[in-house]
């Protein structure tokens, strides 16, 4: 089942290039089919995961390069299953939102599905070689997706994004080889390496390398600058996937290779990365406040929200790590929704200046409602998934370092300030006559938006639905930490 998730998307991506250029509808339908398939399989993966049994499930294994111990070994646990679900949802809604792409449609969807296959690959790989392999596969189509279909300094942003992310992978690659040789078990398998264990002095060296290497993708300050530029320049569906899912790959990598393989390294460094996480939260939030372009606000708010994820990981408590993974999911859905909505308004108005809008709630009621739900999730309104996630993160961090937790909570206040101000300016007040003729969201766009909102509400109202599953895999990780 998990093989299908990776390979079908990869093949679908490749096959789209064979569709004749003029058959745009065919390309879109193929994309919709692949997106629906991904959504179905990812929901099934999440729903069928057996919590009582725990551990990795739906495993498959293929000996890929036996002489150095690489196998295409896939499986999901309580941490990766929500991520798989997230990816499935975002790509499905991303296809719906991109329905109006008319330039080089087949190439767009071809590259988009290569990207998706890479993302799925990272989340399901239990072999670290393949985890890294798919991590790079996910980065590879980004350049073209942004540079061809993007806006606002797109070529600069595309190159910057690719070079930053690949820069991070220099560290990851080196550390991965070091792990492999230090473990001495001639296997890249996560579980084999975990069983072999690592020397604390080595872990102390490798942990920060891995943390920073993956952290670049997670928007870790001060290596986050690619992210607002990249997200703003990217076309809507790519921003959704990138901010929604790709940034999670970084955090996921930190949990898998950092916390899971090098618990003692994590223990040694956590104080330092907690501080960085707090900087992330506040720096991102204040930068978002200073932006005039709607998309930049969302971009910087991602940097800020990823700070909560890092804070949850850094707390090194079960409750905090649960919160971090839930925040990964929740932020993924929320930011995908926000980018989708920014795309909707930009398509119609061709501007993104917040100051240019006003009173939009009158002409675009559906748009306004969806946007406000997303915004309220972002500022952590109870009843929506963002609240549950951030609450857990703060509860965990408070046990480790109350001061950092306090800084995090201050970040929420700043977030509330910029989100509320932005919404007030856009939707209320007198209607700017320029926008009298704007059409509200069409049926496809609304469907996409409602799907995403439904998840925010579902996991906000009843978080145990997801946290229960995350905890199955988080608890053993925390139990393995040296005291």
């Amino acid at each position: 089942m998990l093989y299908a998730l990776v390979l079908v998307n990869l093949l679908a991506g490749a096959a789209m290039f064979a569709i004749p250029e003029r058959q745009r509808l065919l390309a879109k339908l193929a994309a919709l089919a692949a997106g629906t398939f991904s959504l179905a399989i990812s929901i099934a993966t999440f729903a069928l995961y057996d919590r009582a049994q725990g551990g990795f499930q739906f495993e498959d294994r293929f000996d890929w390069l036996p002489s150095i111990g690489i196998s295409f070994h896939v499986g999901v646990d309580g941490i990766s299953a929500p991520m798989v679900l997230l990816t499935g949802v975002v790509i499905f809604t991303g296809v719906l939102i991109s329905w109006n792409i008319e330039t080089r449609t087949r190439e767009f969807f071809g590259l988009l599905f290569m990207l998706v296959s890479g993302v799925f690959g990272v989340f399901v790989s239990m072999d670290l070689f393949f985890l890294f392999f798919f991590y790079e596969v996910a980065v590879l189509p980004m350049y073209l997706l942004i540079a061809v279909w993007g806006s606002t300094r797109k070529e600069y942003a595309a190159m910057k994004l690719v070079m930053y992310l690949l820069g991070g992978s220099i560290l990851v690659w080196t550390a991965l080889l070091a792990l492999y040789h230090a473990a001495g078990v001639r296997s890249f398998d996560l579980l084999d390496m975990q069983a072999a264990g690592f020397d604390p002095s080595l872990a102390r060296v490798l942990f920060p390398i891995l943390f920073v290497g993956f952290g670049v993708l997670a928007g870790l300050w001060p290596f986050h600058t690619w992210s607002p530029d990249g997200h703003v320049a990217a076309p809507t569906a790519v921003s959704m996937l990138h901010a929604g899912v790709l940034m999670k790959l970084g955090a996921y990598g930190i949990i898998r290779l950092g916390v899971q393989l090098l618990p003692s390294g994590a223990r040694d460094w956590l104080w330092f990365f907690l501080i960085i996480a707090a900087v992330n939260v506040l720096y991102g939030a204040f930068s978002a406040m200073a932006q005039r372009d709607l998309k930049f606000v969302v971009g910087y708010s991602s940097v800020s929200h990823m700070g909560y994820v890092l804070m949850g990981i850094g707390s090194m408590t079960a409750i905090g790590l649960n919160g971090a993974v839930l925040q990964m999911f929740s932020h993924g859905i929320m930011t995908a929704l926000l980018f989708a909505l920014v795309g909707v308004i930009y398509d119609r108005a061709h501007v993104r200046e917040i100051a240019a809008f006003g009173g939009l709630a009158k002409v675009m009621p559906r748009f306004a409602v969806l946007f406000m739900i997303a915004g309220l999730t972002s500022l952590g309104l109870p009843g929506l998934s963002g609240f549950a996630a951030e609450f857990l993160v703060f509860a965990g961090t408070f046990q480790t370092n109350p001061w950092i937790a306090a800084l995090g909570i201050a970040g929420v206040a700043v977030t509330a300030a910029y989100i509320l101000r932005m919404m007030a300016r856009m939707f209320f007040g007198p209607l700017n006559e320029r926008w009298r003729g704007l059409k509200d969201m069409n049926r496809l766009e609304t469907t996409a938006g409602v799907c995403l909102v439904a998840l925010l509400v579902l996991f906000g109202v009843y978080p145990p639905l997801m946290v229960g599953q995350i905890d199955v895999s988080v608890a053993p990780l925390i139990a393995a930490l040296p005291k």
């Binding site: 190439e107 190159m159 070079m163 220099i170 080889l177 492999y180």
Partner: protein, 481 residues
């Protein structure tokens, strides 16, 4: 007679070369470029024999030549190269060159030299074989006789090439002086005696490394590369970038493994520094190139640097990694060059900026070239990622972490200049919108050849196990483990 049987692959190529040169007289001028097709059959037949020999271990001609999996691996590689160079040539030859038969004949003869290099277990045999390769290339690179740049390339190449051959020969004579033999097995024994560790031997090895460094285009012996690559006819540039380089490494790996193994410990750092210089300079200078031939020249210098990383940490595993990376690099670079040749045939262009809008005019050509460039950059799905990962992992096993870190960083930095070409093809609008709407006319056989190479690139990238096993078998043959 038995010995003759085992050199049949070489004999077939020589015969084919002679036949091509003879038939040439009886053909009308217009049909001569088509001689590439019959000529291309020869490497395929030879390849059949090489595959049939797989698993044999035999010493020929009083120990000067060895048939083992190492030699067969490289022979197979050279035959694949020769085949694709010949298949990729006719269009270019028809447009730009006057003496097709000489061209095809020399390509075949250079291939014979390269194949013999991989078998040689004795310094003079290896040297003479390598000279056969070089002499083929000296005249091939000046084949565009009416063109100034081609003549310049030939002249530069032969002068610097002769110089490097002299270094190599002098090195051989010093090693002979110190150990009393030119056979690798004897050198290996002699190197462990007092004389084997003396200054004569040291100087000899230095000169050998310098001479071979020239052949594989390692910095600081790379000066000839960009000019010769730029001036030589395109198919020959392709041939040089993979054939000549692999021949140099075929010489080097066997010599180091079988002959100089006992003293290699002293050379690790020196070769490591060469590797760092080669990678770094190749990549940095490649970024500034405007001509795609020069860019690929510097990129090939950088690739030689990655292979040298393996040489610095020489073990049976790194040598398998080197062979693997060379094989992956070979199909990739051939693919890239074929795409450039076909584009050049259709439009006469070779500057990077002139690739603008290619994706609109031929999506297949653009995708194939993009796949090869991504592979050269070492990105996954394509050969370059798998081969580099294996090679660097093997090098890390012997503890040369500083070198591996350098190599990984270099590999990532190189993505930049490959992306620049991809940007021209896919992103930048064509300067002439009219032109953009006219599809390029690429002959069917060209698309087929390119398609096969791209499949190979993907195959090594997605399922390298068979070729890894072949490389490991080859490596075991020379390390005797």
């Amino acid at each position: 007679m038995d010995d003759l049987y085992y050199i049949l692959p070489e004999i077939i190529l020589v015969a084919a070369a002679l036949i091509v040169l003879t038939v040439d007289f009886f053909l009308p001028e217009g049909r001569r470029p088509g001689l590439a097709w019959p000529a291309a059959v020869a490497p395929l037949v030879s390849l059949g024999f090489v595959i049939a020999f797989w698993g044999t271990e035999r010493t020929l001609y009083s120990g000067t030549l060895q048939i083992d999996e190492y030699a067969l691996f490289f022979k197979g590689l050279f035959l694949v190269i020769t085949f694709f160079v010949l298949v990729g040539s006719p269009g270019y030859v028809r447009k730009n060159l006057r003496h097709p038969a000489e061209f095809y004949g020399l390509v075949l003869l250079a291939a014979v030299g390269a194949m013999a290099v991989s078998s040689a277990r004795e310094l003079l045999t290896a040297y003479i074989s390598l000279e056969l390769v070089s002499f083929g290339f000296y005249s091939l690179s000046s084949q565009a006789k009416h063109e100034l740049r081609s003549n310049e390339a030939g002249a530069k190449y032969i002068i610097l090439g002769a110089f490097s051959s002299a270094l190599l020969l002098y090195g051989i004579s010093l090693v002979f002086g110190a150990t009393g033999t030119t056979f690798y097995s004897g050198i290996s024994q002699g190197a462990q005696t007092a004389a084997g560790l003396g200054p004569g031997m040291l100087l000899g090895i230095t000169l050998l490394i310098s001479g071979l460094g020239f052949k594989v285009a390692a910095v600081p012996f790379h000066m000839w590369t960009p000019d010769v690559y730029e001036g030589a006819p395109l198919p020959i540039t392709a041939f040089l970038s993979v054939g000549s380089k692999s021949a140099g490494f075929a010489f080097l790996i066997r010599l180091f493994a079988e002959g100089l193994g006992p003293v290699m410990g002293d050379w690790r750092v020196a070769i490591g520094i060469l590797a760092v210089l080669t990678m770094t300079l190749g990549n940095l200078v490649a970024m500034q190139q405007r001509n795609i031939k020069r860019l690929l020249a510097y990129s090939s210098i950088a690739q030689a640097g990655y292979v040298l990383v393996g040489a610095a940490a020489l073990t049976d595993q790194t040598s398998a990694g080197m062979m693997l990376h060379l094989a992956g690099y070979t199909v990739t670079n051939l693919g890239a060059f074929l795409a450039v040749i076909f584009y050049n045939n259709a439009t006469g262009r070779e500057r990077i900026a002139e690739f603008r809008g290619l994706s609109r005019r031929s999506i297949f050509l653009a995708l194939a070239l993009a796949a090869c460039l991504f592979s050269l950059a070492g990105l996954p799905l394509f050969a370059g990622f798998a081969t580099k990962f294996y090679l660097f992992s093997a090098a890390a096993a012997s503890g040369m972490w500083w070198l591996v870190a350098f190599a990984i960083a270099n590999s990532i930095v190189s993505v930049y200049y490959y992306l620049v070409i991809i940007r021209e093809m896919f992103v930048a609008p064509s300067p002439d919108p009219e032109e953009e709407r006219t599809p390029l006319r690429i002959p069917l056989h060209a698309n087929a050849a390119l398609g096969v190479l791209v499949v190979l690139v993907l195959w090594i990238g997605l399922y390298p196990n068979p070729i890894v096993q072949a490389a490991e078998a080859g490596s075991r043959a020379i390390f005797g483990s």
